[in-house]
Symmetry: D2
Subunit: 415 residues, 4 copies
Amino acid sequence: MAIDFTLTAQQRELQLAARKFAREVLTSAGAAELLATPEERFLATRPIYEAMVGAGYLRKCIPAPAGGENTGLVDMAILAEEFYSINPSVTLTMLGTVLGLLPILFGGSPEQCGRLLAPFLMKHGTPLAAFCFSEPGGSANADSPPPGDGVRTTARLAGDDWVINGRKKWTSSATGWNRRGADILSVVCRTDPNATPDRAISIIAVEGPSSGIVFERAINSIGHRAHLVPQFSLQNVVAPRSNLLGHEGGGLALTATAFTATAALVGILGVALMRAAFEFALHFARTEKRGGVHPIIQHQAVGYALADAKTAIEAARYLSWRACHALDTQSPAAEELAVQAKIYGSETAVRVITDLLRVVGIESYDHDAPLGRLLQDALALPIFDGGNMGIRRRQLHAIFMRPDYDHLAASGAAA
Amino acid sequence: MAIDFTLTAQQRELQLAARKFAREVLTSAGAAELLATPEERFLATRPIYEAMVGAGYLRKCIPAPAGGENTGLVDMAILAEEFYSINPSVTLTMLGTVLGLLPILFGGSPEQCGRLLAPFLMKHGTPLAAFCFSEPGGSANADSPPPGDGVRTTARLAGDDWVINGRKKWTSSATGWNRRGADILSVVCRTDPNATPDRAISIIAVEGPSSGIVFERAINSIGHRAHLVPQFSLQNVVAPRSNLLGHEGGGLALTATAFTATAALVGILGVALMRAAFEFALHFARTEKRGGVHPIIQHQAVGYALADAKTAIEAARYLSWRACHALDTQSPAAEELAVQAKIYGSETAVRVITDLLRVVGIESYDHDAPLGRLLQDALALPIFDGGNMGIRRRQLHAIFMRPDYDHLAASGAAA
Amino acid sequence: MAIDFTLTAQQRELQLAARKFAREVLTSAGAAELLATPEERFLATRPIYEAMVGAGYLRKCIPAPAGGENTGLVDMAILAEEFYSINPSVTLTMLGTVLGLLPILFGGSPEQCGRLLAPFLMKHGTPLAAFCFSEPGGSANADSPPPGDGVRTTARLAGDDWVINGRKKWTSSATGWNRRGADILSVVCRTDPNATPDRAISIIAVEGPSSGIVFERAINSIGHRAHLVPQFSLQNVVAPRSNLLGHEGGGLALTATAFTATAALVGILGVALMRAAFEFALHFARTEKRGGVHPIIQHQAVGYALADAKTAIEAARYLSWRACHALDTQSPAAEELAVQAKIYGSETAVRVITDLLRVVGIESYDHDAPLGRLLQDALALPIFDGGNMGIRRRQLHAIFMRPDYDHLAASGAAA
Amino acid sequence: MAIDFTLTAQQRELQLAARKFAREVLTSAGAAELLATPEERFLATRPIYEAMVGAGYLRKCIPAPAGGENTGLVDMAILAEEFYSINPSVTLTMLGTVLGLLPILFGGSPEQCGRLLAPFLMKHGTPLAAFCFSEPGGSANADSPPPGDGVRTTARLAGDDWVINGRKKWTSSATGWNRRGADILSVVCRTDPNATPDRAISIIAVEGPSSGIVFERAINSIGHRAHLVPQFSLQNVVAPRSNLLGHEGGGLALTATAFTATAALVGILGVALMRAAFEFALHFARTEKRGGVHPIIQHQAVGYALADAKTAIEAARYLSWRACHALDTQSPAAEELAVQAKIYGSETAVRVITDLLRVVGIESYDHDAPLGRLLQDALALPIFDGGNMGIRRRQLHAIFMRPDYDHLAASGAAA
């Protein structure tokens, strides 16, 4: 082991195969974004998602020990960059499903894993899972003690079943293809009305479709136009007692673990969008003369703006890889690096794509060009998966206050 | 005269009346943005535009000497801030009409002014004018000598008429309510195929509807969703010889004069959008607890982000006012200040609204909240009306290279 | 009254006279910065300061009602921009003296004003005053209730005298030309050991030289190399009871008033430094070829960087003027605008000068060029006079939380 | 081989040993910066430099094939981060010597390497080498054809000797400890007065001391206060014909190769300075209360500012490592990545340290605290070693214009 940025032969093969699949299959999902309503747009991506599952890409996101083919977050990053740069909406549907499974993967017993993961290991169908964390009114303070509301969704035991009531929002794919629920909903809920937040919250797997899931609306989101982010309520939704994931009361810790893993990946999602925007802007600059004599790339201001964009892309990619590697190797700096990759990759993506719009100029204001859509997608990155202001920087702030914090932990660890 | 930031009684009255009108009348234009196609959205704003005309606001944008009621750009800025903060699309329709009239106002003979401006001085109807400058393929280098294409639209004399051929794009409202042409199109075109650009280009007023105006498409723009930016061709469009505005060959100079005036106003458009975004974010922060104990404004990070936003708003407003005043008083620094107000106000708006999205967090990703739409509108500001990268900074660059450039001209001139 | 950016004839005369005086007299003060120790550097500026006093400029900073010639902060801004752009160190010595007099001007009785201000109204000598607020260990939380230390310097009554003990730091010119004290020290101190901070703190005028003032060291500051910022202690320093300024216990409020006035001026100090840096960089770019064929201003990257710098300068100047005008006219938005001018002008100055260093390139790394020194001076602006992070943004944060906060107050008020 | 961020056991040992040596030995070099003149400061570091050589660190910077112990740029980055974070001046003296040797290492024959490198492979003495590229008047356009001056220093053959005339500036250590010349000067000069720049320029090794080296002055630089950057002339300086390095006329290409290698390292120099500043600011925030109740790190604004700083540090480190690795493995993306690491690391360092000054507040304005000095050192990074504006972004601009440019080359290459 050594500091190295060379892909293994398998990683390179994954990268090239994913790039080819994205170009050949995911590209066509773009048309879905032109449909009128969020649900129409989402439903129109189903064949593409089916193709992704069929080609084994969902399996490639599930760890090998759990029956899938994934060997780590670095590989996930390589895959995600290729897919997300071509179609963020449908890629997010797949990644959202993986997120929905994380409480099972991180907290589930072997029995739960075997039972609940099975549909997601097939190479057919369009299985969806959803991580149901956020609630109407916001969940940045889900860990708030009273009088803060914290988590408002509740589950109480009735015999051998949990009976769940509450409302959720912004939960990717949660109401599924038919409004009646994804195949698995990992529902963050309060299982003890009296305990402190670090003991009161649990995650329960609900298997959809389920009768108490009441679709309210599909959010008309700024970007990810063909991805479903519903608002819905759970009205006496029933799940067997054995579907509680991890230990009772450990829900916030399990949530934190899941969102640390995704944070490292969000960094690479930013890279993917910037890369797509850069590719378009570079091609535009090399070919368009805008009434003048030379392609506009010959203007120094254009070249320098491209230089700044590309520099940011490269910086974001290696920080994200570094965070993924830290999680894969369980580095003590892993949490810090994952959050940093999320913050940096997401905010850099918004800034860089905004700048590239100016390189292209007014043509970028037309939805026939991709930049507007890429920016609309990018705007999600700093505010979803734990908003950078309300949650992610707070995590770093908390890390810095730990008495044993070592600011050099990330820079060096021997093999 | 003295350095002063106090509105006159008339200016304050204009501000308050415009604020009231905007809130009561323009607010309802927002619904138009939800319709499916660009043309449907544009047409749905027609009653609102009619109300604006009916209330005399278009007249208030036309200088008093030309028969209107406008007394200067500072007043325009006060009006524009109020309207644009409530509805950018329909306000841009009005301002685009004013822009379309600028070549008449700046270059027209008394006869032309009297004849061509008349419909725009009424307090009824929905008269539209359009400044037809940009062309497919871009016009950042409209002043390019060969072999650059420069301006591709041509006009040749046939008897006492100009016959115009070419294509135009991004020209606000140019094809009018019925695809057959706005009431006035100020068409930038090449009247001398052999002269150098500073003598070859002229502006000709075409009175619509006109049979050779061939609508190609309404651009599906990122923002200003209910404003019409068409692409169209002029196929043997005929205009009387007497409709050439200013002197023959003076088209680029007249264009520059028009775009200097608008530049100062774009600064205030940025202020208007930021102000609307700030108002929403401030209210959100003061009322939302996001699961916690206190409204989130009590978090220092929220308060500081709001502080930075508000500081930028104030800086942009006074720079814009200063530019408007410089134009009103024909200061030697007027061109420089106008361009600076445009660059600063436009780019600051994009940055500030982007930041405010993060203050609000994920709720801002829902089109039910205004921030996404405000950002989509703001994205136009740096790239329309002369892109900041391809045109506006080039103007400043050219100013700095003038041998007699005085960098203190803006800071002091005695009464 | 109307929105206007035209200087009155008197203002223009002030501007030109100050510009001439600065160029002819202040320029020579630059040599003082090359001396070895902070005190040597400070002492070497004394003749220049004497010339400033002699030419009546200190009088021009003291309001007319108090016997001086100042007519408002807008005039102060015009003067300060001219002086500070040529020599920040000695200009700060004059402005620091004015700050030291503000508690007298704002809170003093007619008797106190008459008695204490007299030496500062003369056109001879080198009178110094100092506002003694900050203490070793920091004073960002001077208003902290226990167990925070808040203000640690104390004054207790002994007969008809205050006896003051404590330590101060960062107090411009406080120990005077001879280490024994400026002519006036406005000392912020705790006069009631038991009251809450809003009633416990007062400001007492100490007339130097005074035997209990014990010089500890002159801080070797990053910039303002020829300005004195001492650390010293007050050991049983005696002042007559009648030297308490304003009402007993009103010290923090009086401090806040003083620092609101200075905030608006700090904005213009940023303008002054940027302007000096821009002037140098522009000249460099117009004359230097760096081995190439053309002056480097012909490179687009250079022209655009200059454009961004100049735009920021203009934005900062008018925001500062607006804040000064708001204070002069007692606008309800005055506090907000003053703090915003301070934050914006100070941070923009650091950013812009940093960028201009890159335009000039490696030559700017030589102290023979002015840019390094200008940046070192600029670095003070965001952190002195109430640090932007610990104090100034906190002020804005507090303003936004007021129930009656009106975010449009700054944008319009009728004459 | 695989994407990996784990140090080998040898790398970790190097890191820890260098950290220990820096803390124990380099720390004391800080005192040199307080001396009055640049030369005094430089001379005062000589014992420290001697200790570095004695401990074998110079040898560790010379590649193993050339007789040293260096195994690649990744190792150099690990070493440089440790040293430079403690003392930039003396570390730059060592790195400048390595730069001076690069033309020998990259272009020298075995005979030249054996002969010229010998003194630098010893573990004693204070050997200095200097890369003499920049000239008074600037060298950003060293490759300019006439009428641009390009490289003005000339060498003509006189028998078996080169006779060199010209002036150089900003050349680290070039005049050596005694003004008479470093042990090796790699002098970029024009060997053919008539050829085009790509054939006219060569690099000749001059062995000092040499009689024609005429010291003009030691630049009083903004930072790196104890490092020598002289201006000097070469007046009929003689070097044997056999000291021409590489092939005649290949000087600019050899220069470019050298400056690509250093670019990757400059990135890590930025990391080193940020890391030192972060360490100080973090400690300050965790311990200082500034008059309040809690350490200021408990303020959210402080925690968030630290979060942003730390995120930038991590991003810069891995981009720099990636660039070093690309150079070590001769990746096709190596040049692009090296320049990006230079631009990003250098400009980020200036920005981050500037921000950290605000976290610490006014105390950072005192040279007793390290932040001012760190910033002054950091200011060099964007403008030395090829200014980012005049040279480095131009390199990227040129890369993007190459017809075969592959924007994904950096992201993936199989083992």
